[in-house]
């Protein structure tokens, strides 16, 4: 199999792992103001404190992996979305330190809670808008970005940004349904239902908008024979959405989270169908941007050896902190 294709899948996997893992802890940041100050917020924070750092490492792998495997794409996308990336990084700074600071300084806890929410929202919005900017197309001349520095700001990217915020909120709320109990769990379930509807509406709008955005995208989804590969994605997404609403209606604990995760998986598959084989639409394919074979092979060896270990000890770290937060704390 073509190494470039393998690398496209590895990067896609990293992005997916990042989106769902940091997605739920960013989502908790987004939902933080709606949680009751005091034990409810503290427990929500505790449920992610041991894992957020690992979750965010996938973002570094996504960025670093893109730099390594598709250096030209890295060199084009980041300048094209410069203000978004800077905003995302600064948002992540605020929310990252808030994990530590809010406990260190009880008198300013409200401020750091605000920083946690603000940082999470800005990071999520910026990530969604970056995805939107990529999908709507980036102007490239030679080997460099050649648009202006506000091309990324359009109604479409606002929509993808809000969709990402809603999706992360859904992941965060369903994570809380899993990790909390009692009235807090009930509260999380209500939040999850609202976030679910917001996600369905925004995800649906983005999908329809995609068809108008680019004739090539529409062709992918609406004409034979591609439609036979593409059609299962929206169908499965619909089934998952219904299952999610049903799981939230009854007293389920972990199931809503896994269903939300599946929703993101199908979203990712849809994204793949839409973009393939471009890494920077409309001009650069994965082969245009790929690193030379020696780089690909060298890194592939590293991935093959380390990735199972990484997944193993990450799973172990989650396992160590399993169970409801309120029941036992982390003693």
């Amino acid at each position: 199999m073509d190494l470039t294709v393998i690398w496209a899948f590895i990067i896609a996997f990293s992005v997916f792992a990042y989106v769902v893992m940091d997605g739920f802890d960013l989502g908790i940041g987004i939902l933080f103001p709606t949680l009751a100050a005091g034990p409810e917020r503290d427990r929500a924070m505790n449920s992610i404190a041991p894992v957020w750092d690992g979750n965010e490492t996938w973002l570094v792998l996504g960025g670093g992996g893109l730099f390594a495997a598709f250096p030209l794409a890295y060199a084009v996308i980041l300048p094209a979305t410069y203000p978004l990336i800077i905003a995302m990084l600064l948002g992540l700074v605020f929310r990252g330190v808030a994990f530590e600071y809010r406990w260190r300084d009880p008198r300013h806890q409200r401020f750091w809670d605000f920083a946690f929410t603000g940082g999470s929202f800005v990071a999520a919005m910026a990530q969604g808008m970056t995805l939107g900017a990529l999908l709507q197309g980036i102007e490239v001349t030679g080997r460099a970005y050649s648009g202006s520095w506000f091309d990324w700001f359009t109604p479409y990217t606002l929509l993808t940004g809000l969709g990402t915020v809603a999706g992360y909120a859904l992941l965060g709320a369903t994570w809380l349904v899993w990790k909390l109990d009692g009235p807090s769990q009930h509260h999380a379930r209500i939040l999850a239902k609202r976030a679910a509807w917001a996600t369905f509406i925004l995800m649906g709008s983005v999908s329809l908008y995609n068809l108008l955005l680019n004739a090539e995208y529409a062709e992918r989804w609406l004409t034979a024979p591609e439609i036979f590969f593409a059609a299962p994605v929206p169908i499965l997404t619909g089934i998952t959405a219904i299952a999610l609403l049903r799981a939230l209606a009854v007293d389920r604990h972990s199931k809503p989270f896994w269903l939300s995760l599946a929703l993101f998986l199908f979203g990712m598959a849809g994204l793949g169908i839409t973009m393939w084989p471009y890494v920077v639409p409309p001009g650069l394919t994965i082969w245009d941007a790929a690193a030379p074979e020696r780089s690909q092979i060298f890194m592939l060896i590293g991935v093959v050896i380390t990735m199972p270990l990484i997944i193993g000890y990450t799973a172990w770290a989650y396992w160590v902190f399993r169970g409801k937060v309120g029941d036992e704390g982390y003693h």
Partner: protein, 480 residues
């Protein structure tokens, strides 16, 4: 054209600012992670709770340092692309894989085990917890290894082929690339610097508490351990620095010329300029105090060895002399001051006044933050000294920047300055506040429970703790 130059200068300032800020945290957390591993190991070996108390004391500080290191590090991993896209495109095939290995073998290891290290002592048991601490410490060292390999390759690029598209392509051997000529020296010198920096922070904190109460056993232990490090590692560091300098002379002679302030060639023995004011316009060092022929002795091990000066280098290939000259002297000066503290501590130890010499304690306290200054000064020496190149002799910094407008970079630079000073300023203040508490028996860990995992409930600002006296435990469950 003028606009483009402005954007370039702003991008350089932004990179220098963000990396200098970032570098402060790992230069402390690399050393501190290893120190924590040593403390926990000693606790498991001896069973003395003194070590556990010290472990918990420094773990709280480590948690904040690490968080600041992570968030400022993520910025770095994206800044290559945002601001140096041409560099990223051209060097990606070589540097990208090295950085990917850093993520795979270091960042995941640190992050994966950090949660268990911080919060998991009661969940996984002592041995597994110690394993987690070791993994975090090992991860910090792996991270340093890969990123310094990247930096060293930019300073001494080897093992590549030029692609038709202008990219640096890997040659047949990755080992040549990873173990490029300046890498072993830079790695050893930098990691040693991190250990030394940490030792002086720990020693400074210990000294501060000894000045308040020379009977505090915890302060005594940390001070003693730190002074051993100073006495042993400072001389090693000076030797390592000298070897690194010889390596630089071989591969980047104009950097050494700038460090030495040698505008002119000296055919029969170059002087060592101790101090002076480099005057780049007139190409001479004003008001200099120099030792004749000493530079040739140090760098060539021969009093009369000829040394080339910057007069042999075309003007457009010279680094800025003043910055390199001064930052180098600051680094070396601090290095020798550290050696002085180390020797003083040995003498005090021999005279049995290690815990009572107020002079030594004051000096150690003043030297507490000196490692950070030395690390930054050393970094400036090596990074400014390789200008005007980003990939030495092959790619100029001026060719590397992203096609961004000056206002975009100016805005982001301003945002970084405001946010970094505010956020990291507060973080440093929290760290100083933790350091202000005397270490004591029954030190609380990073507490976990219903009301928050990262709270030091019960020992937040209060009267000075009485060492040796068991603190009353807070109302919530205590994880002693």
């Amino acid at each position: 054209m003028f606009d483009y130059f402005d954007a370039l200068l702003l991008a350089r300032i932004q990179f220098a600012f963000t990396i200098s800020f970032h570098f402060i945290f790992p230069s402390f957390s690399i050393g501190l992670a290893s120190y924590l591993a040593v403390l926990e190991g000693l606790w498991l070996k001896t069973g003395k709770t003194l070590y556990l108390d010290l472990f918990r004391y420094w773990l709280k500080i480590f948690a904040i340092t690490f968080a600041m290191g992570v968030v400022s590090g993520i910025v770095m991993s994206y800044q290559f692309g945002t601001n140096w896209s041409v560099f990223s495109d051209r060097t990606g095939p070589i540097l990208g894989p090295l950085m990917a290995y850093e993520v795979l073998t270091a960042f995941f290891l640190e992050a994966g085990f950090l949660g268990v290290m911080l919060f998991g002592m009661e969940r996984v048991g002592k041995r597994l917890h110690f394993t987690a601490t070791l993994m975090v410490a090992f991860g910090t060292l792996m991270s340093a290894t890969w990123i310094l390999s990247v930096n060293s390759w930019m300073q001494t690029p080897v093992g590549f082929e030029m692609g038709v598209n202008g990219q640096f392509m890997p040659g047949p051997s990755w080992l040549d690339i990873i173990f490029n000529p300046s890498f072993p020296y830079r790695l050893f010198h930098t990691v040693n610097a991190a250990f030394l920096t940490t030792a002086f922070v720990v020693g400074g904190v210990g000294a501060w508490h000894l000045l308040k109460d020379r009977g505090n056993l915890h302060a005594r232990k940390m001070f003693s351990m730190a002074m051993w490090m100073a006495a042993i590692v400072a001389p090693i560091q000076i030797v390592a620095g000298d070897l690194h300098g010889l390596n630089t002379l071989q591969h980047q002679p104009q950097k050494v010329m700038a460090m030495e302030g040698h505008f002119d060639s000296h055919p029969d023995g170059a002087p060592l300029i101790l101090f002076g004011i480099p005057n780049s316009a007139e190409k001479r060092v004003d008001y200099k105090i120099e030792i004749p022929k000493a530079s040739s002795l140090i760098l060539k091990h021969d009093l009369n060895a000829p040394m080339a000066g910057l007069d042999t280098i075309p003007d457009n290939e010279e680094p800025p002399v003043g910055t390199v000259f001064w930052s180098f002297r600051i680094m070396v000066g601090i290095g020798f001051a550290m050696l002085g503290i180390g020797l003083w501590s040995l003498w005090a130890r021999w005279r049995k006044s290690l815990y009572s010499s107020k002079g030594l304690h004051r000096a150690a306290m003043i030297m507490g933050p000196s490692g950070f200054v030395a690390v930054i000064a050393g970094w400036i020496t090596t990074e400014v000294g390789r200008q005007p190149y980003v990939v030495y002799n092959l790619m100029r910094t001026s060719e590397a920047a992203s096609p961004l407008d000056a206002p975009a970079v100016a805005a982001s630079l301003l945002a970084f300055i405001i946010v970094y000073f505010a956020v990291f300023g507060v973080g440093v203040w929290y760290i100083l506040r933790l350091m202000g508490h005397a270490p004591h028996v029954g030190e609380a860990g990073i507490k976990s429970g219903d009301t928050g995992p990262i709270r030091t409930a019960g020992i937040t600002p209060g009267p000075t703790q009485n060492p040796g006296h068991v603190q009353p435990l807070p109302a919530s469950k205590e994880d002693v």
